[in-house]
C-alpha cells in the first residue's frame, strides 16, 4: 500500500488542499522518525550486543516457544471470534435503527478507553470460580479465569474495536440498493450476503481482524491478571519479555520482542498485498 500511495504522490497533478508538499512530507517524515523509527532503532540497538547464535538460543528457548504457541493460539481464537461478532455488530450499527444505538456505538470504544489492567482485573473477578460468571460456568466444566480461555477472552475484549471500526465505514458507504438488487434478481438471503455484500467487506474485515490479532499478540496488562501465568501452559510472550526485563536482560527482552514485531509486520504486509490484489480483481482487473 505504501508503495502505491508514494507513486501517486510523485506522479499526479499538484492540486492539493494542504500547501507545500515538501513541508508536509518533511514534517511527516520527522514525526515518523521520532515516534516510530527512533524506538525501533533503540530496540535493534539492544539486539546488536547479541551474536546470531545467542539470538537464536534466546528466541528458541522451549519455554519461550511454548509462550508463542499460547499467545498465537489464543490471539487467533480471539481474532476469529471478533471477526464474526465484530461484523455482526458493525452490521447492526449501520443497517438498523433502534433505541440506544448511539450508546452501543459509543460502547464500542470502551476497550480503547479503559486501562487494560483494569479490564484484566475486572475480567478475572467476573470469571474466577467465585465470580458472577465463573459461578455459572464452573458447574458446566468450563473454567475461564487462569486458563487459556481467559487469555483469549481478555484478548477479544481489548481488540474488538479494531474489527467494528474498520468494517463500519465500509458498510456505511455501501448502498442499500446493492443487496436489494441481489434479492430482486432472485438471490436467496444467504447468497446475497455471500456473493454481494461479503466481497465488498472482505478487505476491511480482514484488515480489522489482522489488526485485532496483532494487537492481541502484544497485549500484557489485561491478560496478566487472568492468565494464571503457569509455565508452558498459560504464559504469554509479553510476560517472557517482562521477566527478561526484571533480570536487567535488555538484550534478551529485545530479542523476544523482535520476534513478535517481525511476526506482526509480516502478517500486516501479507494482508496489504492480498488486499491490493483483491481490490484489483474486484474492479475487473485481471489479477
Amino acid at each position: 500500500m505504501s508503495t502505491r500511495s508514494f507513486a501517486i504522490g510523485l506522479g499526479s497533478t499538484p492540486k492539493r488542499v494542504l500547501p507545500g508538499f515538501g513541508l508536509s512530507l518533511g514534517i511527516s517524515l520527522t514525526f515518523v522518525s521520532l515516534m516510530l523509527l527512533l524506538p525501533m532503532t533503540g530496540l535493534f540497538g539492544q539486539l546488536a550486543g547479541l551474536s546470531l547464535a545467542e539470538y537464536w538460543t534466546i528466541i528458541t528457548n522451549d519455554r519461550v516457544v511454548a509462550s508463542y504457541v499460547v499467545t498465537i493460539g489464543a490471539a487467533a481464537v480471539a481474532a476469529i471470534v471478533n471477526a464474526a461478532f465484530g461484523l455482526l455488530l458493525a452490521w447492526v450499527l449501520v443497517r438498523y435503527e433502534f433505541p440506544g444505538k448511539r450508546l452501543l456505538d459509543a460502547l464500542m470504544d470502551l476497550p480503547f478507553a479503559l486501562p487494560t489492567a483494569v479490564a484484566g482485573i475486572t475480567l478475572a473477578t467476573l470469571y474466577a470460580s467465585n465470580g458472577w460468571m465463573g459461578r455459572l460456568l464452573e458447574p458446566l466444566g468450563l473454567q475461564v479465569a487462569y486458563t487459556w480461555v481467559g487469555i483469549a477472552l481478555a484478548m477479544a475484549f481489548t481488540s474488538i474495536p479494531f474489527v467494528v471500526r474498520t468494517v463500519q465505514p465500509v458498510l456505511e458507504d455501501m448502498p442499500h440498493e446493492m443487496d436489494e438488487a441481489a434479492l430482486t434478481l432472485g438471490a436467496s438471503d444467504i447468497t446475497g450476503f455471500r456473493r454481494v455484500i461479503l466481497p465488498h467487506l472482505w478487505p476491511a474485515l480482514v484488515t480489522g481482524t489482522g489488526l485485532a490479532f496483532v494487537r492481541s499478540l502484544g497485549e500484557f496488562g489485561a491478560i496478566i491478571f487472568i492468565a494464571g501465568n503457569m509455565p508452558y501452559e498459560t504464559e504469554i510472550t509479553a510476560l517472557m519479555i517482562f521477566v527478561r526485563l526484571q533480570e536487567y536482560d535488555y538484550a534478551g527482552a529485545s530479542a523476544i520482542a523482535s520476534v513478535v514485531l517481525f511476526a506482526s509486520l509480516a502478517l500486516l504486509l501479507v494482508i496489504n498485498i492480498w488486499q491490493g490484489r483483491f481490490i484489483k480483481r474486484l474492479h475487473g482487473g485481471h489479477g
Partner: protein, 335 residues
C-alpha cells in the same frame, strides 16, 4: 513543600521581617525510597522521628516517602531520583546501588545486623480450621494441595518462598540433590496461580478464593489476617523457614548533594531505637531490640531461620544459579 516555604518567605517579606531571619531558611527534607507495602509502616514511624529529631536538635525537618516495587525503586534512583535513604525488602536492590557507586561498598557493615533493622520470614496463610492440615513445607507437596505465591521470576517475595522451600528440602534430605529437585518440582507443580507480585497473589487467594495456602512474608500474612478477618484465616509459621532481611542504606551521593548526611544517618539509626522497634513489631515485623522482642514474644513463634547464604551462597550466586535464564528454577519447571 517548596511552595509552602516560598509562600512563607513571601509572607515574611510582606510583614517586613526581612529575608535574613535564620528561622526562615528552607527546612530540610529527607526522601526515603521504600518498598511497596511499607507505606503504612513509614507513615507511622516518620512523625515520631520528626519529633525525636526536633527534641534532640531543635530543627524541624520533613520526611518524604516514595513507594513502589523495590527493584523499580532502585532503578529510579539509578536514573536520577534523589532519594537520601533507601529502605528495601531485598538485599540485591541495595547492592545494585552499591555497585553503581551510589551507596557505600561496605553498606552492610555500616549499621547493625547487616544493616537490617528488622526482619521477617516466609509464613503460610491457610483457610479457616486449616482443612488440609498444613503445618510445614512437606505438607505442601501432598497431592491436591494448591499453593499461591508470587512468581519468583518477577517478585522478590516469591524468590524468598522458593528459597525457603529449597532450604527445607535441603535440610530434610541431607543435601541429596536428586530428592531436593524432586521435592521442588512437586512444590512448583502444586502452584495454582503465579501472580507477578505479592499483592496480586493476596488478591487471588482472598478475593478469588483460589488455593489452600498463600505463602508470603510473615508480616504480610499477619496483616492480611487482621484486615480480612481473623476468623476466616489462620497463620502458620513453619518450623524451618528463611531469614528475610529488610536492608537500609544511605544513598551517599544524594545525601551529600542535598546536605542531608547527618539527617539520613540519624534516620536509619532511629529505626534501631526501642521506640521504632516497638512500632515495627506492631506491624508484625521481627526486631532485634531485646526488651521489645520479649514484649512481643508470643506474636512470633520460635522457628529456625536459614539465611540465604546457608541455602545457596551469596545473593549474586543465588540469582545466577536459581533465578537466571536457564537456571535451576527454569529447569525445575521444564516439562
Amino acid at each position: 513543600m517548596r511552595l509552602t516555604s516560598l509562600r512563607r518567605t513571601l509572607l515574611a517579606a510582606a510583614l517586613g521581617i526581612g529575608l535574613a531571619t535564620p528561622a526562615l531558611a528552607a527546612e530540610r527534607e529527607l526522601l526515603n525510597s521504600s518498598y511497596d507495602i511499607a507505606r503504612e509502616l513509614f507513615s507511622a514511624i516518620n512523625p515520631e522521628f520528626i519529633t525525636h529529631w526536633q527534641a534532640e536538635n531543635g530543627e524541624e525537618v520533613e520526611i518524604q516517602q516514595s513507594h513502589g516495587g523495590s527493584s523499580a525503586q532502585a532503578r529510579a534512583i539509578l536514573q536520577g531520583l534523589r532519594a537520601d535513604v533507601v529502605t528495601y525488602n531485598q538485599v540485591t536492590d541495595v547492592q545494585v546501588l552499591a555497585d553503581a557507586g551510589l551507596v557505600a561498598e561496605d553498606w552492610q557493615q555500616q549499621l547493625p545486623n547487616n544493616a537490617s533493622p528488622y526482619y521477617s520470614t516466609t509464613a503460610f496463610l491457610v483457610r479457616k480450621d486449616n482443612p488440609k492440615g498444613i503445618e510445614s513445607w512437606d505438607d505442601l507437596v501432598e497431592e491436591g494441595v494448591q499453593i499461591v505465591f508470587p512468581n519468583p521470576k518477577t517478585s522478590g517475595n516469591g524468590r524468598y518462598t522458593y528459597l525457603a522451600a529449597w532450604g527445607f528440602a535441603d535440610q530434610e534430605y541431607g543435601g541429596d540433590e536428586e530428592r531436593v529437585h524432586d521435592f521442588m518440582r512437586t512444590f512448583l507443580r502444586n502452584v495454582a496461580v503465579f501472580d507477578t507480585g505479592g499483592r496480586g497473589a493476596t488478591t487471588s487467594f482472598i478475593e478469588r478464593g483460589i488455593g489452600d495456602v498463600l505463602i508470603s512474608f510473615e508480616s504480610e500474612v499477619n496483616n492480611i489476617r487482621q484486615e480480612y478477618g481473623s476468623d476466616d484465616y489462620e497463620v502458620i509459621v513453619p518450623p524451618v523457614s528463611i531469614l528475610a532481611e529488610f536492608p537500609v542504606a544511605v544513598v551517599e551521593s544524594n545525601a551529600e548533594r542535598n546536605g542531608n548526611q547527618d539527617l539520613a544517618q540519624a534516620y536509619l539509626e532511629y529505626l534501631y531505637s526501642e521506640e521504632a522497634q516497638r512500632m515495627l513489631a506492631g506491624f508484625n515485623y521481627r526486631v532485634h531490640h531485646e526488651a521489645v522482642v520479649e514484649e512481643f514474644a508470643e506474636n512470633f513463634p520460635a522457628t529456625e531461620l536459614l539465611t540465604v547464604e546457608e541455602i545457596g551462597g551469596s545473593w549474586d550466586e543465588v540469582m545466577d544459579t536459581h533465578f537466571g535464564s536457564g537456571g535451576l528454577l527454569d529447569q525445575l519447571q521444564r516439562r
